[in-house]
């Protein structure tokens, strides 16, 4: 059974840059593999180890500029390949930037259909940058497949998949017929860092980038593009308590907390 795994080249949220007026400099923020997508790749590789088949990683570029980002999305996909995916296919196209979750789902579902037949499509529970957690569901409906989200355990049994969903208060175990889409949480496994050998090997694996016309599509209309993104200005006091020794620092801190009305003595 072949497995598709969706990987996002996400803005690296640890590297957010802004100018002096607080405008985010999107083009200067590097792209990185979205955290939970590493878990999705690792899970796909684990299932492949049990059932055979191949693991194909898919992505759509959602942040421009294209000329700069084309290299970055390739690096992200090379990481997925180093983590054990067998090949990678991406769509890089100026006309769909910046991304819109509905458009991304549309493009990915077409790309997947064009590439092969997959029994299982895995994705991270949500992306690091936009965190909408909608994509796995939207793509499932575009493909007409069942879907389960927030999996912390996946078992493939006789043409079905049993998914343990990690909800806030309980674990809900659901069963879906294959083919199906499943999103995974960070708890499902612990992906290892790829070894140098795996990284070297990843460059020999197939990587293919398409425009949307090359997969037979016109630019879909965006369902709900954002109008603006603003930097959150933290209104914390940022006061480092200093003193001659730790006793003095502790006393000053306690006084501050009493002053704030959050500690009573």
């Amino acid at each position: 059974m072949d497995i598709a795994v969706l990987v996002k080249a996400s803005l690296d949220v640890n590297m957010i840059k802004a100018d002096s007026e607080g405008r985010i400099l999107f083009d200067s923020i590097p792209l990185a593999i979205s955290e939970y997508d590493r878990n999705a790749v690792a899970e796909a590789v684990r299932i492949k180890g049990e059932l055979g088949g191949k693991v194909v990683a898919f992505s759509v570029l959602t942040w421009g500029p294209v000329d700069k980002r084309a290299r970055e999305i390739e690096n992200v996909m090379r990481e997925a390949l180093a983590l054990g995916a067998d090949e990678a296919h991406v769509v890089v196209d100026d006309t769909i930037l910046p991304g819109d979750v509905s458009v991304t789902a549309e493009v990915l579902s077409n790309l997947i259909k064009k590439t092969g037949d997959f029994g299982l499509i895995l994705a991270g529970e949500g992306s690091m940058d936009m965190m909408s957690a909608q994509l796995p569901v939207r793509i499932a409906y575009k493909l007409g497949y069942p879907v389960a989200t927030f999996a912390r355990k996946i078992e493939v049994i006789n043409g079905a998949v049993k998914v343990t969903r990690d909800l806030e208060d309980v674990l809900q175990v659901v069963e879906l017929p294959l083919p199906a889409v499943v999103s995974v949480t960070g708890e499902i496994n612990q992906p290892r860092l790829p070894t140098l050998l795996q990284i070297r090997k990843s460059f020999a694996k197939p990587y293919k980038a398409y425009t949307i016309s090359e997969i037979g599509m016109d630019a879909p209309e965006k369902l709900f593009p954002f109008d603006d993104i603003k930097l959150v200005t933290v209104s914390r006091k940022n006061m480092i308590i200093e003193g001659e020794n730790l006793e003095e620092i502790a006393e000053k801190l306690i006084d501050k907390l009493i002053e704030e009305g959050v500690v009573r003595v």
Binding site: L11, V13, I24, V101, S102, E125, M128, D129, M130, M131, S132, A133, Q134, V137, R138, Y141, K142, P146, V147, A148, T149, F150, K162, D166, D169, V170, L171, Q172, V173, V174, E175, L176, P177, G186, L223, F224, F226, D227, D228, K230, L231, V232, V234, K237, N238, M239, I240, L246, E247, I249, A250, E251, L253, I254, K256, L257, E260, V262, V263, V265
Partner: protein, 306 residues
């Protein structure tokens, strides 16, 4: 505006109604609100015209049933809880009905003639603004939008579940202590700065002195398994909104910071003066927690006359 609020707890209906009220007052519109409770006792919640009920079911079956209600009542807005099930159900409803969706709305703002729905992105470091339009699906966090006086007394209607292909095989309890971090006013957070599980005793002593709870960063719960996941503060863990958070030996991953950002006062104790957590704190102590915590606890006891 005609709105449907769904959830499996009465509090979900109240949280959703609060959002609808704030939105309607921004837009200067009146409200016709419907509720849908799945898998729970139906209670009367003022402010709803009608409350539908259905037994607990898979997210697919709930979404199918919700879509049927949308068709019948011609709704413009569907609201659900910003929880994992709520996110899946509303993503399904949005997909079926080709609606845009806001996952976890964090605010409503206005500029000129446009009303914007806001949501936190990039680990809480940025806010995305979307010009409000209908139809739309929205998930709403707990207690974010307060309900003002609501008069209407609802009628009730039981719904037939529209099943799908997803089968719920079983529901298992989660390992859980008695800790409810989301309701705690004071939390002492522990992170990788602690070198051994036994050392967490210091944090528990401090929390007890402050009548608070102990929370933790992701590695402490997920990797070291020193504490249960009910104590994990993070976007995928618990979101805290008390009056005081003391982060000890926590560097401040974006997901952790975002989940603590609604706290009134944040204190950070870390030996690395460049730790990101200091940027998100009101008060910082640059010190080794192993040296500072015993002194802090001692001084606190002195002040309390213990």
């Amino acid at each position: 505006m005609k709105a449907l609020v769904i959830g499996n707890k009465t509090s979900h209906l109240i949280d959703g109604l609060g959002f609808i009220q704030v939105l309607a007052s921004e837009l200067g519109e009146s409200i016709e609100a419907y509720g849908l409770l799945y898998g729970n006792q139906v209670e009367e919640v003022k402010g709803f015209t009608k409350i539908f009920s259905m037994p607990d079911a898979s997210p697919e079956a709930v979404a199918n049933t919700v879509s049927k209600v949308i068709e019948k009542v011609t709704l413009e807005i569907v609201v659900g809880p910003a929880e994992k099930n709520g996110t899946e159900i509303l993503s399904r409803v949005a997909s079926v009905n080709n609606m845009p969706m806001i996952t976890e709305v964090s605010g409503i703002s206005k500029a000129g003639d446009t009303t914007y729905l806001e949501r936190a992105i990039m680990g809480g470091r940025a806010t995305a603004l979307y010009g409000f339009k209908t139809p739309i699906a929205v998930t709403v966090p707990a207690k974010k939008f307060k309900v003002s006086d609501a008069e209407a007394t609802p009628e009730f209607e039981e719904l037939q579940v529209i099943d799908g292909v997803t089968k719920v095989v079983e529901v298992l309890p989660k390992e859980k202590g008695a800790v409810d971090l989301e309701a705690a006013e004071i939390i002492v957070g522990v992170g990788r700065g602690f070198k051994a599980k036994d050392d967490l005793a210091m944090a528990f002593e401090l929390a007890e002195l402050l009548s608070g709870e102990v929370g933790c960063s992701r590695p402490v719960a997920a990797d070291f398994k020193w504490l249960g996941e009910d104590r994990w503060i993070g976007i995928s863990g618990k979101k805290i909104r008390g009056k005081l958070y003391i982060a000890v030996g926590i560097s401040g991953a974006p997901q952790h910071i975002m989940a603590a950002s609604d706290t009134k006062v944040i204190v950070a104790v870390n030996k690395d003066k460049n730790a990101p957590i200091f940027t998100f704190s009101d008060y910082g102590v640059v010190a080794d927690l192993y040296q500072f915590l015993p002194v802090f606890i001692k001084k606190l006891k002195e002040k309390k006359g213990l």
